[in-house]
Symmetry: C2
């Protein structure tokens, strides 16, 4: 027995966006121009046509998006979502007999051949369409009448090829000949900040004006104008909970803390409370809520650090001993993220039989802080907790709070980092921190923007973190700080840094480790928040440039230019809709002036190859007149290691 569907001649395949065969949704943000695409083709040489259908999960009506042929059987439709949450889409395609006929008619007519039989076939098509389309029946039969009249071939052909008839025949297809792609796929629409954000990390306890005093949320308030002036829109705090007193770490990660050592904020919980409490020296819950409200006045949001782990004196340890893995000697093995050891931290046991209650409690932590006004969470070491938990927790939270964003702080193996993106994290830390050469950077950007990762993994580029002082910042000094900052801010639309260490250019490592010596993780610092540095100045300018140029508000529009110097990296970004084009050229050599020619992909940057154009360096103010693809740049790292050009035609 033959199954049905023998007359469905069109094939639909390679549908995108599609993440892991549709197991996970693709990600996009409000207003983003999204391509729904597929390979679509029939046997033989007849014309085909296709529609994408899309709807928000809360709707019942599908919107119809006619798909356009692009090249080599690849078709696409553009979609711009204006609503948060999950959309689903599907694709249908069919043999477009009217267009096939129309093209044949045109060819014969233009070759001067007799088209009488062709016109007859056209009439049959129109009559068939009328028979199956009650709505358009009358209009269709009017056209056939016109065909049947004794008019000139030219008049008939003109009518046949008219937009009016095309519009009528667009809907013409027999249901049993339509190929319906068997799967629907989902796209999660998030708010714009998921794709474009600028993060500044500071330790609130180091914000006091007075050296030796513990900083408070009120001290942070004093710094907000600076953070806002510098152009950051996410202010990220390490954990603000009570810090464990048992096994507390001392300065430089030493195993014994002195009486005045404040401990690591990631060793969460003590007799005063755990993940839902606030470290008393920072202030009260009300102080915190007041700060959360205050930052919003600056169009900044606070990102809160959630580290699902416990100091040995965290209340959970006594209240829920079943959530930990006890050893025969009555201890719990401390947490590790090789090669790092966290002697002051106990991990949860995600294999506990009581995992449902554990999951619920962990979710309630997020909900607690959402109620306090928090909308962004930076999750500490998510790769050491069960993937299934993240997928469930983030899904549950975002169902009620689709505005809430999660950043995955996973620096681990590629497959693991990818999976966290699929599981629902809206942004992710990356390997950018260690990618220094032109080859490395280009390959990595390709992986992030031209593979399936494009759909589920939103990179957030950090040149440093409290945990990571990469070698380039150590040996390259201020020049390297500026160069890496420019790369982060222009390669990725999401970027952040750990300050004020970064602006101040502190770069002494702890022995041979790629970590800061005298790390703020274990001590309270007193910073000169208002010192002028080249790095702070470039930071401020860069963030303004990002705000004013939508081309820099996407990571996925990057196009690399060949250069004749391997120390010179060059790339462009274009916002098609708003006609904004940026070209960046960066000297990767932190000590020497480097120059070379760049070969710009003009077509992808919307630049006319036959007319001169002006490139306006928004960092320096300089302007150059260029023409064509090949142009020369030269950059002195002691002056400014990069051009950040806007194209002004």
């Amino acid at each position: 027995m033959i199954s049905s569907g023998g007359k469905q001649r069109v094939i639909i395949t390679d549908v995108n966006p599609r993440v892991e065969d549709g197991l996970f949704p693709a990600k996009a943000v409000l207003g983003e121009r999204l391509k729904i695409s597929a390979s679509i083709f029939g046997d033989g040489h007849d014309e085909v046509a296709a529609n994408a259908y899309i709807k928000h999960e809360s709707e019942t009506e599908w919107a119809e998006l006619p798909m356009q042929f692009v090249i080599n059987d690849y078709w696409e439709a553009t979609f711009q979502a204006e609503k948060l949450g999950f959309f689903e889409f599907r694709i249908e395609a069919w043999e477009d007999h009217y267009t096939t006929w129309k093209k044949g008619l045109k060819k014969k007519f233009e070759a001067g051949q007799d088209v009488a039989v062709e016109i007859q076939i056209g009439i049959e098509l129109l009559e068939d369409a009328a028979a199956i389309s009650p709505k358009d029946k009358e209009a269709l039969l009017d056209v056939t009448s016109a065909f049947k009249k004794d008019v000139t071939p030219l008049q008939t052909v003109t009518l046949a090829l008219s937009d009016q008839v095309a519009a009528l025949m667009y809907a013409y297809r027999h249901p049993d000949m339509i190929t319906v792609y068997p799967a629907t796929y989902r796209i999660e629409i998030e708010r714009k900040k998921a794709a474009y954000s600028t993060w500044y990390e500071l330790f609130p306890r180091s914000t006091s004006e007075q050296e030796g005093r513990h900083g408070t949320f009120k001290d942070v308030t004093r710094l907000l104008p600076r953070v806002a002036h510098m152009g950051f829109d996410v202010l990220y705090f390490p954990p603000i909970h009570p810090i464990g007193e048992k096994n507390r770490k001392g300065k430089n990660n030493s195993l014994t803390a002195g009486p005045d050592d404040p401990g690591s904020p990631w060793a969460i919980g003590n007799r005063l409370g755990g993940h839902k409490a606030i470290h008393p020296e920072l202030g009260t819950l009300d102080d915190f809520k007041a700060l959360v409200a205050e930052v919003k006045k600056y169009n900044i949001e606070i990102a809160m650090d959630i580290a699902y782990q416990c100091a040995p004196d965290h209340p959970y340890v006594k209240e829920h001993p079943q959530w930990f893995k006890w050893r025969p000697d009555g201890t719990v093995q401390y947490a590790e993220n090789p090669p790092k050891k966290y002697e002051d931290i106990l991990p949860f046991n995600f294999e506990t039989d009581d995992w449902e209650n554990l999951w619920q409690e962990l979710k309630s932590v997020i909900e607690y802080w959402i109620a306090a006004g928090i909308t962004i969470f930076r999750i500490d070491n998510p790769h050491t907790k069960a993937f299934a938990f993240w997928q469930w927790m983030i899904g549950e939270v975002r169902q009620n709070h689709p505005e809430v964003l999660f950043l995955a702080e996973a620096f681990t193996r590629p497959r693991v980092m990818e999976r966290l993106g699929k599981a629902g994290f809206n942004q992710s830390y990356t390997y950018f921190t260690w990618r220094n050469t032109k080859y490395e950077l280009q390959e990595y950007m390709h992986e992030l923007t031209r593979t399936e990762m494009r759909w589920y993994y939103r990179p957030n580029f950090w040149p440093n973190t409290p945990d990571i002082l990469p070698p380039i910042l150590t040996y390259g000094g201020e020049n390297a700080h500026i160069m890496r900052l420019i790369l982060a801010a222009t390669l990725s639309s999401n970027y952040g840094l750990y300050g004020p260490v970064y602006e101040l250019g502190l770069n002494t490592p702890h022995g041979k480790k790629e970590e800061y010596v005298d790390n703020e993780k274990y001590e309270i610092k007193h910073w000169d928040w208002h010192k002028y540095t080249r790095t702070a100045e470039v930071m401020t300018r860069l963030n303004r440039i990002r705000k004013q140029n939508p081309a820099l508000q996407s990571t996925w529009n990057i196009e690399f230019a060949d250069t004749t110097n391997y120390q010179l990296i060059c790339y462009g970004k274009r916002d098609e809709e708003r006609g904004n084009t940026m070209i960046m050229a960066v000297n990767l050599d932190v000590f020497n002036t480097q120059g070379g020619h760049v070969n710009l992909p003009l077509d992808k940057l919307g630049i006319d190859p036959d007319r001169p154009y002006q490139v306006h360096d928004l960092l320096s103010g300089d302007r150059y007149t260029w023409q064509g693809a090949w142009n020369f740049v030269q950059l002195n790292p002691y002056q400014m290691p990069a051009h950040v050009f806007r194209v002004e035609q």
Copy 2:
């Protein structure tokens, strides 16, 4: 409510072989060493373990294949099928707590730390295993007793790390903590000829010893020793059915045939019968059956050409007019495969309401010839017939006759050719015919062997066909014929050519077309079958070399070497199991001697980088002693455009 599965901490993804998300089976042949692979990882840093399970569709028991970690969370298991038909496989993975424990124990012990608590944990694991494994309970408890005895830590650790305990604990896992990958995928196992075959195409009507006489199946019998001596194992005939008399083509594709013109064999059917009849001048059905039996004595199979199309006087046209698309003037539009026009052929209308009967009839054609002894079908222009038909027909036929192979003769757009492979064709024609430069050849081989195509598309490389005389053969003469032959026969394990035109080096095009002038498609030829030519000599040697060197019996083991000359292409192939390694170096310049260095991927070719090795040119007999990756070659195309080396250490 949380769904179940919260304790399944291991992720399985990117499972292969998998074709179009599992919609189609992957292909392999009997005895082929097949890698079943996946990315497998857990959260955190515990050890994981995984099994693949595989079974033939006719079986109920799954064979268990332990998977091995390779690199970067990529795991694989090797499978060699010994049965034709469909296998299905699935993957399971879990946290391997015993191995995690064992590694920690070893580390602590070697660092001289106290392992008493570790031993206690080990005892708990063993007792837990005993509790859930009745079969091994006694043996497991014996081990715990040994642990509990007052022996030295060294003795305990040695026992803990022993293979004996590892074997016992291998099966230890709690069912609710096993991740079962939700999909099973299929692999179709075919006979070896699907992956390794050597085709020779000839027109039986041109085989008469006597000029001017129509060749017969008996004439073909006379040529079999030659075909066998030259090393071919598939003898492919153009259609052997009665040729249409209506609209018959004359010489050089002219629209009017003279009274003696035999017509194109692809214009099938006349008053004497259609697809199940034999052109009387070739012989009777019994003659044909006798030939089919005779060729088998030479270990050759006949490949029959099936062209699903009809001359206007084919019996189908009168008997089943509903299978054709009639125009208002009472004609059927002739077939086209742009830019080619087939005025002597009517296509079937796959949109006919009577499609089920059409499909059944077309399938019965295949079954008719299978009954006559045919096991290989070359299908003409499959891309102009419905994809759904092929998938159904090939599936149905191979269910009863898994030995039957289908070659898709589609020279069309990439997505269309790919789909035919997915739909079930065992071999496919390719773009090799037009890929000439090093870049083109390497890119194309990458596409065929390193993308998803590796699993469903078996290339068959043809340097020429009766339809295609590529420019390189026209301008490059005999040198080009030899060079292209060597490429086809060593790049691809399936290759074929249209002879004796090829050995004789005929290469005059028809005007500006890439076709032979005075094409055998429209006339009966008289060939000198026994003329000595360099091309025929190389062909004979090459086919023997392929037979004697299993490395050349696969297409998917290819590894390219860098060369310092863009006219010089170099690649190796290795059969791991039989330790056979071949290295090919080919001069792509048909007029000039070219030399250069090649940089061999020694590790992939199984060559020791520290010892000299001999490369033995099996075409010329020459031997060279090489060492290391970089070696020099120089090739004169008038002598021999290639080395075909066997590595002899």
